[in-house]
Amino acid sequence: MRFQSFFIILLRFFQKDNTCIHSQAISVNTPYDIPLLCNILSLLSLGLLMVFSASTHLSELQYGVSFYYGLKQTVSVFLGLILLCIFIILPLKYIMKWHLYILIGTLLSLICVLLIGHKVNGSSRWLSLGVFNIQPSEFAKLGVMIYLSAYLHKKKETLNTEKASFLIPFLLLIACTILLLLEPDFGSTIVMTGSVIGLLFLVGMPWKYFIWIISSTVIGGILMVLREPYRMTRFIAYLDPWNNPFDSGYQLTQALIAIGRGSWLGEGLGQSIQKLSYLPEAHTDFIFSILAEEFGLLGILLILFLLLRLVYCAFKIGAQCSVKKSHFAACLAYSIALLWLISIFMNIGVNLGLLPTKGLALPFFSYGGSHILASCCMSGLLLRIQYELKTTHLTDIH
C-alpha cells in the first residue's frame, strides 16, 4: 500500500492539472483539448528558447552570427506548426486508408538515405532537399507506427487466436532495424524497437512471446555493442566517466558538470558556461544538461512535468479510444506516447549518465528540423484523435 502511495501522489499531480483546466468552460465550447494544445505549444516555445540559448556560442564560432541555429530552428517550428494544423484538420480515416503508402514511403526514404544520404560525423542520416536536410529516420519511426496501428486494427479480431499475426510486425521491425543500423542510427533503432514492442505489449501480445522478444533484443543489443569498437568505448566510458574525463568520458563528464552547476535553482537563462564549447552537442543531444544548468532542479522538474503530462495525455486518449473500441486511434495514440516516452527517457538517461552515450534528440528541445517536424505531426495526430474522440468521427473508421 505504501509503495502505491508514491504513484498516487505523482498521479494526483497529473490528474489535478488535467481536471482543473479541463472542467473549465473552454472545453465545453470546443471539442479540442485546449490544455493539451497549450502543453504542446509551451514545450515548442520553451524548446525554441533553449536552442537559442544553447547554440549562440557555437553559432558565433561557426558562422560569426549569434542566432544562426536559433533562426533555423524558428523556421522549423513554424513549418512544424503548419504540419500540426494540417494533421488536426486531416481526418483519421484517410491516414488509415493510406497506411500502406505511408509504409512504402517510409521504407523508400530509409533506402534512399543509405544510397544518396549526406554524411555528418560518419553516419549518413540526412537527405539533402535543397534548402533543408531531412532526417528520414525521425519520420520513419512515426510511419512504421502508423502502419502497425492500422495493421493491428485490421487484425484485432484474430490477434489472440492467430499466432502468425505477430509475425508481420516483427519482420517489419527487423527490416527497419537493419536499414537504421546501416546508417547507422542506434538511437532511432532503440526507440523504434521499444515502441513496437511496447505497442504489441499493450494490444495484448502473450507474455511468453514478450519474454522471448525482450531476451532476444537484449542479446542482440549486446552483440551490437560488442561488434562496433566505438560503442564499446562509449559503454566503458559510461560505466566510469571520471576515469578518463579528457578522452572517452569527456562528453558525459561535461554533461554531469553542467547538471551539477545548475544546482537547485540554476544559473539563469543564458548563464551556462558548459555551452561555451565545453560540452559537445550542447544544442542537440545534450541540451537537457544545459537546461539543467540554466534552470536547475526546479526548472527541470517543470519541464519533466510538461513532457510527462503530454505522454500521459496520449496514453489517456489511447485508453479512452480503446474503451470506445476504436482500435486504430488507440494504437496510434499509444504509439505516439511510446515514441515520445522512450526518446525522453533515453535522452535524459544519457544526459544523467544512467545510460551509455548515444545520439538521440530530446523531443521539442533539441536542435534539429526533422524531429521537431515529426513531433509536430505526432502532436497534430494526437489532437485529431482527441477531437474525433469528443465528436463521433471515430466511428468512421469502423
Binding site: Q15, F201, L202, P245, L256, I257, I259, G260, G262, S263
Partner: protein
C-alpha cells in the same frame, strides 16, 4: 480508500497492461528525479569543483620592480612596461604559412626556424615566441589577427646611467630577478608582489566576463643609493680619459664621505652597457673595487706611521737612518727610489722610504702593526652589502714573521686588501680615528663610528700626508686653493710567476680639505704595464681633475689661509 479513488480516476479505468506500463514509467521517473537530486544536490560540490578547475583561470599582473636612485633621486635603474608575445602552438599549427612568414618577419626570427619550432612543439600550449617586444611590433602583430598569439605585460629593467654605474648596480635577468650587484643584494626589497586576476574562460581560452582582481600588484620598494650621480659621472669620465693614455687593466675610483662611510662615487673602467646584453662580459661586469684584492704598496705607509706613533717609540721628528738607500733583510734587497740619508720619521712618508718603513716596523714589532691592520678593518668585511665581497689578507700575529715579511708589511706587501678596505681604513685617519661601515645606501641617521686610533695620531698622520701632496710624491694631485692630504702608492702586481716586473698597481689616496676632510678619494690603476706607472704621476692628476669638479659641485669652500 480516498487515495485509491484518485488512483481509480486516474488510471484504473485504463486497460490492465497500460496501467502496468504506467507504473513502470512512474518508477523510471522516480529514478530520474532521484538521480537529478543526487547530481544537483548531493554531488554538486564535486561537480562544481571540477567545473572550476576547467573554467577558472588566474592571470598574473606583474608588479614593477623598485626604482634605484642616487642620493638626489636621479634614476639609476627603472622598470619600464613592455610586452612579451607567447603562443599556443597547437593553434598556431593551423595558421597558414604566409601569416607565419609575416609573423617571423615582424619578430625578426628566421621563418624556417619558426616553422620547425611549430612543427616540433605542436603540443605546447605555452611558448614564448619573443620576450620584451617593442610597442610597434606588438601593434603590427595584432594587425595580423592570428589566433593563438597572446601578449603578456611585463617589466624590463632599464639603466639610464648606462656603463658608468653598471658594475655597482648589477643586472636583472629576463624575468626581472636580480642577478648581480645591488640588484641581487637588494632583490627582496626591490621585488614587487605580483597581483592576480581571476577570470572565467571558455574552451578556447577567451575570457567570458570582466576579470576579477584577487589582489593588485604591489610595486617593489625603491632603493636610494649614497652615490651622487654628478660625481659618479665626472669620476667615470676622468678614468676613461686616463685609460686612453696608458696601458692598464683597469682604473678604479672610489669616493667616500669619511664621516659616515657613505660612498659617493664608485667607478670601474672598463665597464659595460647594461642596456645591451651583447656588451656583457664577466670581466667588465665585476665591481673590482669590492671583489678584487691587491697588495697595496707604499700607500700602506700611512698605517706604518700610525703604528709608529701608537707604539710611543717614535715621534714625527725621530731621526731614522736610511743610508745608504738600501738594506739587506734575510738576503733580500730593500731599496729606496732615492738616497735620503738621515731623515725625520715624517719624511719616511713624504719621501716614501722603504728602508725607513722597514726600520720602523722592526722597532715597533709585528704585533702592534698587525693589530692596527686588524683594527682598521683589513682582512675582514667592510660592512657593505654587496655580493662577492673580498676580505683581503693580513698575516696572523703568531707565529712570528720572518724579518723580510715584516719589512714587506711595513710598505704594503705581504698582505692584500680591496680598494674599499683601503679607503675605509684611511677614512679613520681622515675623520680623527673612527671606523665606519662602508655603505652604498644613503644614510638617514647618524652612525656612531668605532674608535680605532687616538685623534692626535690621526691628525698627525694627516698633517704629514698633507706634506706628501704639497712637497712630496703626491704633488701632481694638488688643486689650487685647497689643502689636500694624500699618499701615493706603486706596487708590483702578482702574475703567474711571482711578482711581475712590468705590471704595477698604482694608486693615490687623497683627503680634502686636509684640516677637516669632507671627502676621501682613492684612485687605483691595476695592471699598469707601460709608461708612467708611479701612483703620483698616474693617479694624482686624475684626483686633481675629479676633485676640482667635486668641490665645485658640492660647494666646498677653498681654504682661506693658503
Amino acid at each position: 480508500m480516498k487515495l485509491s479513488c484518485i488512483l481509480n480516476f486516474c488510471v484504473t479505468t485504463w486497460p490492465h497492461r497500460l496501467r502496468l506500463l504506467w507504473y513502470m514509467i512512474s518508477l523510471i521517473v522516480l529514478l530520474i528525479i532521484g538521480r537529478l537530486i543526487f547530481l544537483q544536490g548531493i554531488n554538486r560540490y564535486f561537480l562544481q569543483h571540477e567545473s572550476e578547475q576547467r573554467v577558472i583561470r588566474y592571470e598574473t599582473i606583474f608588479a614593477s620592480r623598485g626604482m634605484i636612485t642616487d642620493r638626489h633621486g636621479q634614476a639609476l635603474a627603472v622598470s619600464t612596461p613592455v610586452h612579451s608575445v607567447w603562443s599556443n602552438l597547437t593553434k598556431l599549427y593551423d595558421t597558414p604559412v604566409d601569416q607565419i612568414e609575416q609573423l617571423a618577419h615582424i619578430l625578426k626570427i628566421p621563418c624556417s626556424m619558426l616553422l620547425t619550432l611549430i612543427q616540433k612543439k605542436k603540443q605546447a600550449t605555452f611558448y614564448y615566441l619573443k620576450r620584451h617586444i617593442t610597442p610597434d611590433m606588438m601593434q603590427e602583430i595584432e594587425k595580423l589577427n592570428i589566433s593563438g598569439l597572446y601578449f603578456q605585460r611585463e617589466y624590463k629593467r632599464y639603466y639610464p646611467s648606462g656603463a658608468m654605474m653598471s658594475p655597482v648596480l648589477g643586472l636583472t635577468n629576463i624575468d626581472d630577478h636580480g642577478q648581480s650587484g645591488l640588484e641581487w643584494q637588494y632583490h627582496d626589497q626591490l621585488l614587487g608582489i605580483n597581483g592576480q586576476n581571476r577570470f572565467l574562460k571558455d574552451l578556447h581560452g577567451h575570457s567570458i566576463e570582466e576579470p576579477e582582481m584577487i589582489h593588485s600588484a604591489i610595486p617593489g620598494h625603491p632603493l636610494t643609493l649614497s652615490i651622487d650621480l654628478r660625481l659618479q659621472y665626472f669620476s667615470y669620465r676622468a678614468l676613461a680619459e686616463a685609460m686612453h693614455k696608458i696601458q692598464a687593466d683597469s682604473a678604479l675610483l672610489i669616493m667616500m664621505n669619511p664621516n659616515n662611510g657613505e660612498i659617493l662615487a664608485m667607478a670601474n673602467y672598463p665597464s659595460f652597457n647594461p642596456n645591451n646584453r651583447l656588451d656583457y662580459s664577466p670581466v667588465t661586469a665585476r665591481n673590482r673595487i669590492i671583489t678584487d684584492q691587491f697588495e697595496p704598496g707604499s700607500i700602506m705607509k700611512l698605517v706604518t706611521l700610525s703604528a709608529a706613533l701608537l707604539s710611543k717609540q717614535f715621534t714625527l721628528d725621530t731621526l731614522i737612518d736610511t743610508r745608504p738607500g738600501f738594506m739587506m733583510v734575510d738576503g733580500h734587497l730593500v731599496k729606496d727610489v732615492s738616497k735620503n740619508g738621515i731623515i725625520p720619521m715624517q719624511d719616511v712618508l713624504i719621501k716614501s722610504s722603504n728602508v725607513g718603513a722597514t726600520k720602523i716596523a722592526f722597532k715597533v714589532g709585528q704585533n702592534v702593526l698587525i693589530d692596527l691592520f686588524n683594527r682598521l678593518g683589513f682582512g675582514g668585511p667592510t660592512g657593505i652589502d654587496f655580493p662577492g665581497e673580498a676580505w683581503g689578507h693580513v698575516p696572523y700575529m703568531y707565529p712570528a714573521l720572518k724579518n723580510i715579511e715584516l719589512s714587506n708589511l711595513a710598505y704594503g706587501y705581504h698582505m692584500s686588501a680591496t680598494p674599499l678596505q683601503l679607503i675605509r681604513a684611511f677614512s679613520a685617519i681622515a675623520n680623527g680615528g673612527f671606523l665606519y661601515p662602508a655603505t652604498l645606501i644613503k644614510c638617514n641617521k647618524i652612525i656612531q663610528g668605532e674608535r680605532v686610533l687616538p685623534k692626535w695620531i690621526a691628525d698627525s698622520v694627516r698633517q704629514v700626508a698633507e706634506k706628501v701632496v704639497s712637497k712630496g710624491t703626491g704633488r701632481r694631485a694638488q688643486i689650487p686653493g685647497y689643502r689636500i692630504a694624500g699618499k701615493t702608492g706603486t706596487a708590483h702586481q702578482i702574475s703567474e710567476k711571482g711578482y711581475d716586473k712590468k705590471k704595477y698597481f698604482s694608486s693615490f689616496i687623497g683627503m680634502l680639505p686636509a684640516d677637516n676632510p669632507q671627502l676621501i678619494t682613492l684612485i687605483c690603476f691595476t695592471g699598469v704595464r707601460k709608461g708612467t706607472y708611479y701612483g703620483g704621476a698616474l693617479a694624482g692628476p686624475v684626483f686633481a681633475e675629479v676633485m676640482s669638479q667635486t668641490v665645485r659641485i658640492l660647494g666646498i669652500p677653498p681654504c682661506s689661509d693658503l
